[in-house]
């Protein structure tokens, strides 16, 4: 055995004091952001598949919509206006959360909740003016599935906003809650963005194509 081999090797361990790291972050540094983006990818795919199904049915019939009039425009169009208007308070709420501005978040969430409630109320009216039932034919099933899927997202997000908003008033509060508010606002943008192509597919294309 050589002398060099017998010499003990000094091992240096590098340690990081994790206690100094923040327990939350906004945007892509947050696990919540990745979860929200993953859900949006999955749900966006589900919407795309349903739209594909709608157009597939379209290719199998001579006249579109088959045995029905297109859905009436008024309530669906009103919901486009409500959703587009809701982007502003939603943006305000997201910015307030990223500033840890509790008062701004409270105001923003109440306003967003009112927009969500208005949208759900008009959505209920939309279902009464589709001019087709879910069991009339394959077209009716596709229409109900598309609108039902979007309504599910809407109701889910409004319920989440209500719970989060209540916690913002009642507590207990820590700063990581503001990340949840920010990601909740991101998800609402997805609900808005998803509605525009669905509106075009359900309401405009049967009239224009």
């Amino acid at each position: 055995m050589t002398a060099a081999a017998a010499t003990p090797i000094a091992v240096q361990r590098v340690a990081v004091d994790a206690a100094r790291l923040p327990n939350h972050a906004f945007g892509h540094q947050s696990v919540m952001w990745w979860g929200t983006v993953g859900i949006m990818a999955i749900e966006g795919t589900a919407f795309a598949l349903t739209v594909f199904m709608y157009f597939y049915v379209w290719t199998r019939v001579d006249a579109w919509p088959p045995d029905a009039l297109p859905p009436e425009l008024r309530w669906g169009t009103l919901n486009v206006a409500i959703l587009l208007a809701s982007v502003l308070p939603n943006y305000y709420t997201k910015r307030a959360a990223e500033r840890y501005d509790l008062r701004g978040v409270r105001i923003g969430m109440v306003v967003c909740l009112l927009f969500g409630a208005a949208f759900i109320a008009v959505r209920a009216l939309e279902f009464t003016t589709l001019n087709v039932s879910w069991d009339t034919n394959a077209y009716g099933s596709a229409v109900y599935l598309l609108l039902g899927l979007h309504t599910t997202h809407l109701v889910t997000d409004v319920a989440d906003t209500a719970v989060l908003g209540t916690l913002m008033f009642t507590g207990p509060l820590d700063r990581s809650r503001f990340v949840d508010v920010s990601e909740n606002a991101l998800y609402w943008n997805f609900v808005v963005a998803a509605w525009l192509p669905i509106y075009a597919v359900l309401y405009l294309m049967p009239r224009w194509l």
Binding site: N23, H24, D135, T152, V155, T156, A159, D160, V163, T166, L167, P172, D174, S176
Partner: protein
């Protein structure tokens, strides 16, 4: 009616349980008591399992009444089938969520 209840109520109960758990976790951390979390999951699971059982029973009943008008029969059977599977899926989701509550500390940020 039973079929629609299974289709609508089961996912809503899952959503309510998720929201309640979200609100209760900080309290569970502060008090070091997880009993309220387990209680809400247990109640939610009981409701959803009841909805699933009703839907499966409705599916069996619709099979037995196959002699009625074709459209009615098809609708009822279809809704029963959807209700049975949706409520079963909701029950599974609640069980998985409950498992996470049982294993993880409520104080994990």
């Amino acid at each position: 009616m039973t079929q629609w209840l299974s289709i609508v109520v089961a996912p809503l109960v899952f959503l309510a349980n998720l929201s309640l758990a979200y609100a209760l976790v900080p309290l569970a951390c502060q008090t070091q008591r997880t009993a309220p979390l387990h209680a809400t999951s247990a109640v939610a699971l009981a409701i959803v399992v009841a909805a699933a059982l009703l839907a499966w029973r409705a599916l069996r009943t619709s099979d037995a009444s196959a002699g009625t008008a074709r459209d009615d029969f098809a609708d009822r059977r279809f809704l029963s089938c959807i209700g049975a599977w949706v409520s079963t899926l909701a029950a599974l989701a609640i069980v998985l969520q409950w498992a996470a509550q049982a294993v993880l500390s409520p104080c994990i940020a």
